[in-house]
Symmetry: C2
Subunit: 312 residues, 2 copies
């Protein structure tokens, strides 16, 4: 089989699509901004934006359509309600794509799960049997590959490392809980913490990238914010490694671009909490595939179903 998969990555800020061959090479891809949320954006406006993008990559010989989409969703039916896309609530994404691409397999998973799959198939986790792939960005998400296969969980929601509790009396989380990793380490959370601690950025609405840039210039509050996030990541990864005994943990997403400013405190906290031999053997590495990881992973749902598509 040499036909490429049509891969789709649906996020709160961008819609991406591309063709990915059976070896995981991205042959062509493009993106458009996700239509801004609000009263003027209804479910069909967003769908039409996606259809417009897909037209460029639709061909006569597709192996199938693989999709990563923000969660939560009812899985594997993929009735999606992405937290950061208010226009879609219970939107029947898989059914709509099936109608749009009759006769082709259509498979949808969480976007962070697709990134983890991409990193396992063709990135930093390649060749390993037990891998945690993580995205640290506007949110904190992930996916589990254990025993060489993607773990879905009872409802298709395994991989939510962003909601591992790192401080039971920590800040409230958007999920409704408290002290989740995501509440501390997500980009907007970091920015808010830094502003409250006295950070004075140049821009009115600063981002995690601005914070990282200021930390590189030595701003002590920006450095402390990344340190706080790094340590929270280290604690959560220690807990997850004790539970799952990963060989490799691949950390990607925009905030991972902070490099040592994030990874050094991460390693420090991991080292304090992961003291047993088996956990200390786990390697924590930067993700390798960058922005195409989600497309590569979405394509893997089509190209390598024996490992990555196992709805029970």
């Amino acid at each position: 089989m040499t036909a490429p998969a049509l891969a789709i990555d649906i996020g709160g800020t961008k819609l991406a699509a591309g063709l990915v061959d059976p070896d995981g090479r991205v042959l062509a891809h493009g993106r458009v901004a996700t239509p801004a949320a609000g009263p003027t954006t209804d479910a069909e406006t967003l769908w039409r934006a996606l259809e417009g993008l897909l037209a460029e990559y639709d061909g006569p010989a597709l192996a199938g359509v693989g999709v990563g989409c923000g969660g939560p969703m009812v899985w594997p039916a993929a009735e999606v309600s992405p937290l950061n896309i208010p226009a879609w609530r219970g939107f029947p994404l898989r059914a709509r794509l099936r109608a749009r691409f009759p006769g082709l397999p259509v498979r949808v998973h969480n976007d962070a799960v697709c990134v983890a799959v991409g990193e396992h198939w063709r990135g930093a986790g390649r060749g390993h049997v037990d891998v945690l792939g993580m995205v640290v960005s506007t949110g904190v998400g992930g996916g589990l590959i254990l025993g060489g296969r993607l773990i879905d969980g009872a409802g298709g929601n395994a991989g939510h490392i962003g909601h591992v509790v790192v401080d039971p009396v920590g800040p409230p989380c958007e999920c409704g809980g408290r002290g989740c990793l995501e509440a501390i380490a997500r980009g907007p959370g970091l920015v808010a913490w830094a502003l409250a601690a006295g950070w004075r950025p140049d821009r009115v609405e600063p981002t995690g990238a601005d914070l990282t840039a200021d930390a590189r210039r030595g701003d002590p509050v920006a450095v402390a914010a990344l340190r706080r996030a790094g340590r929270a990541l280290g604690v959560a990864i220690a807990s997850a490694t004790h539970l799952c005994d990963f060989g490799v943990i691949a950390v990607g997403g925009g905030l991972s671009q902070a490099g040592a400013l994030l990874f050094d405190p991460l390693a420090e906290a991991f080292d304090e909490h992961a003291r047993m031999d088996f956990a200390r053997r786990a390697r924590i590495v930067p993700a390798e595939l960058g922005q195409t990881a989600g497309l590569v992973g979405a394509a893997a749902l089509i190209h390598v179903p024996e490992r990555y598509w196992n709805p029970s």
Copy 2:
């Protein structure tokens, strides 16, 4: 195949063995006290005690030998160094059993993993695809069944829920870390906390069972100790459920006998931290098999290898 498996459970206080048929029924079993640790107990003394017990159950038509043993161990070779059995350090348990039972499959896993397997195969997790089985006793351990199969992890150590961090500035743990679930919720840890908080037990060297008995009688410090353990369990189970999306969490072990004194604060903390729909669907239930769970699970390594024995 109707031959029974010889099942063995090796712990710090007792050695148990029995015959378990292919349906998971325990046909016969017995136990002896583990020879006391100390300078007079060497590795061979312990081995002879085990051999003596096994002689009772050795028969001409065994399907194989399944073993649960305290960790850590090098797996699947099962060179075991149980934390609570100092006489064995790097003891070649699987090799010795293979020499003792020539021609039979011999399979060894962590004792808490075997309990989780037993509960999945024939206990509280039966019929579910994604199950966490836990033992809350002198230590806190567990095992993961995901996608219907036992998860081993990169080095055979998956399932260490006792070392999920529930309080990053919490008490030191015997593993060398800090704030692990086990540091707070293990029986001896609870007893120590209660004594420091003013508990006045009748016995000089009280146990978790004494603490539970006093809590049942309304001793406020004993109640508070169980509450502290229950809440720590709830936080750790919330984290684990977010990561793995379990359908069922089965909680067993001596301390689980405290019933509502432990399970009510557990449910309270879980409810505070597990707010997403998928996590709230997980059911937390008492384990069903009691003291034979480890034997049943050890036998499953032999009788149901397609689910429970997958070294890569």
